[in-house]
């Protein structure tokens, strides 16, 4: 039986809308215009115990709204969900004791007090038995390496130190389900790696079910075998990470190092030229025609090195979201839109 079961879950927000400027502001005093925004639109999925699922999508896609509904913060407009057998938005204390939601940009700590005080309050609120509280705390202190900062005032901590403490306080009651919303946001690469490693260890040790949103693909590739891609409130993809590029971007990238300068070869006849700098060439070709293209290159050109690679996951996601193709060599609106349409169908 899945630990998280979501059926046709929707959330629509009613938001005010007006033009900029004083005149529009005066008009809105008398007559306000509202519009409905569907943040999440009939989303369905299920998650088994012990799974780590990456929830991916651009800003405003509906990731955090979904997590907020599953954690009981938001009531849905329609649809159903059960987490650990509970309806989340009933907010039963027995449910809230078994989950945790970590929001990377929000602090749960006592800002003015030493770190240890936040742990102590958390233990009291969750009614943790003394032995369990102490053993979990000792374990978290060791795994997250926070012993040296326990007496420091929270407001004086660096962002990385604070994030480690936020994670520790979120896990102190050993939640069975964890909702992690951007857990590595703003921290440096070393700290990101440490946090990822810790989340993976927690999952393995306690069999916790985890849904993770992140803008850092490294978080997703390091932790999640399964991902759910969401955009404009709709699920675009739900499956294994390995299958993502197959579904969203069925291309290969052929990287060539030429032996000498070639000026008059028609690389565009092989596929989309992503890069051409001196003797380096990168071409994106449909997956099915990659072997033939490689064979033609090897027979036509003096080659020093040739590799055929899957496009990086960041590029696949960026292409799927069309406008978010920044940083993707050669990605354009026209090439990416059909991919989204096709998958959405």
């Amino acid at each position: 039986m899945p630990q998280i079961q979501v059926d046709h879950l929707s959330k629509t927000f009613k938001v005010t809308e007006r033009e900029g400027g004083v005149r529009a502001a005066m008009r809105s005093l008398i007559r306000r215009k509202y519009k409905s925004v569907a943040a999440v639109d009939r989303v369905s999925f299920s998650v088994e115990q012990g799974e780590i699922v990456g929830f991916l999508g651009p800003n405003g896609a509906g990731k955090t709204t979904t997590l907020k509904m599953l954690s009981g913060l938001l009531h849905p407009t329609s649809g159903e969900a059960r987490v650990l057998g509970h309806i989340p938005w009933k907010r039963e204390p027995q449910y809230l004791r078994r989950i945790s939601m970590l929001m990377g940009q929000r602090s749960q700590m006592q800002w003015d007090l030493p770190v240890m005080d936040s742990f102590y309050v958390h233990g009291a609120i969750y009614d943790l038995p003394k032995d369990q509280y102490q053993s979990t705390l000792d374990e978290l202190i060791e795994l997250l390496d926070i012993k040296s900062i326990l007496k420091k005032q929270v407001r004086t901590l660096s962002l990385g130190e604070r994030m480690k403490c936020e994670i520790a306080v979120s896990l102190l009651h050993r939640p069975s389900v964890l909702f992690l919303d951007e857990p590595t946001i703003g921290v440096d690469i070393t700290m990101q790696t440490r946090i990822r490693k810790f989340i993976g260890e927690y999952n393995r040790k306690h069999g916790a079910t985890i849904i993770l949103t992140s803008h850092y693909m490294a978080d997703v590739t390091a932790l999640c075998r399964r991902i759910i891609v969401i955009d404009h409130g709709h699920i675009l993809f739900d499956g294994q990470l390995d299958d993502l590029s197959e579904k969203l971007a069925p291309f290969k990238v052929i990287k060539i190092d030429l032996d000498r300068d070639i000026s008059n070869y028609d690389f565009a006849s092989l596929g989309e030229v992503l890069l051409r700098e001196g003797r380096k060439v990168e071409i994106r070709v449909p997956k099915g025609s990659a072997p033939a293209a490689a064979e033609r290159i090897l027979s036509d050109l003096p080659i020093q090195d040739l590799t055929i690679e899957d496009p990086p996951i960041e590029h696949v996601i960026a292409k799927a979201f069309g406008g978010g193709a920044a940083g993707v060599p050669g990605a354009t609106e026209s090439t990416s839109e059909p991919v989204v349409e096709e998958v959405a169908k």
Binding site: G72, L73, P93, Q94, M103, R106
Partner: protein, 269 residues
Amino acid sequence: MRHLFRAFGVILKTEINVMLQYRGEIVLWSVWGLVNPLVLYAIFKAGAQSNADGKMAGLTVPQIAAYYFMIMIVGHVVAAWDTHDMGFYIRTGRMSGMLLKPMLPLWKSLAGNLAYKICTLVFVGPMWILVVFLIHPQFDCKPWQVALGLVALVMAFALNYCLTYVIALVAFWTTKLDAVGELYFGLSMFIGGRFYPLDALPHWLRIFADCLPFQYMAYFPAELFTGHMTDPALIVRAFVTQAAWIVGALISFRIFWSAAVKHYSAVSG
């Protein structure tokens, strides 16, 4: 229930620790609590002295001093400020963190309120003694009135706290409710007996005040402590009405809390 008390005790201790980080602010708030009643006392005293019988609303100057002195103490004990805090918690997204905990946010707020009262007592206590020496209040109360006054004071705090919290829930719809808070505060000043004894109100305004709960948050306990309220029938009626308002506020809280959480949009995180 035992868990709730234990958790509340820990939160209260933590809130006291937080409060002690801001000693300067505690002193300033303590001083501010004295200013309003003392200014009003000075005005009322001048009014009484300009009258031929030396009285105002039937009170002599020492009785007026006793009244405002008790208003000063009652005002400090019953103070609640959730109408200001709630909007801030919701606008900044802090409410989300509170709602994720298996304990109503109300308990944290109550602990913060009590922590403030406990911490400020160190400063306001000596100030109150100093005020007694400055204004020479005349208390006509008997021990039974003081005992009932203490009960009325605790109930006044419960009533004001519950009503303030219920009104603060408006923030779940509007996110900014400072104006609502000020309106509530203004009414509690004008028709709750904190500006002047209710006997000084015009008849029509007194009827209006009798229909609202504000006098049970200040005027009623103050009148018991000063010894001005002696009629047992009136006292019983006041206690029953005060209790009824508390029950009404608690029922309102249950209804509005469910609606507020359902409406919560978790802005800013």
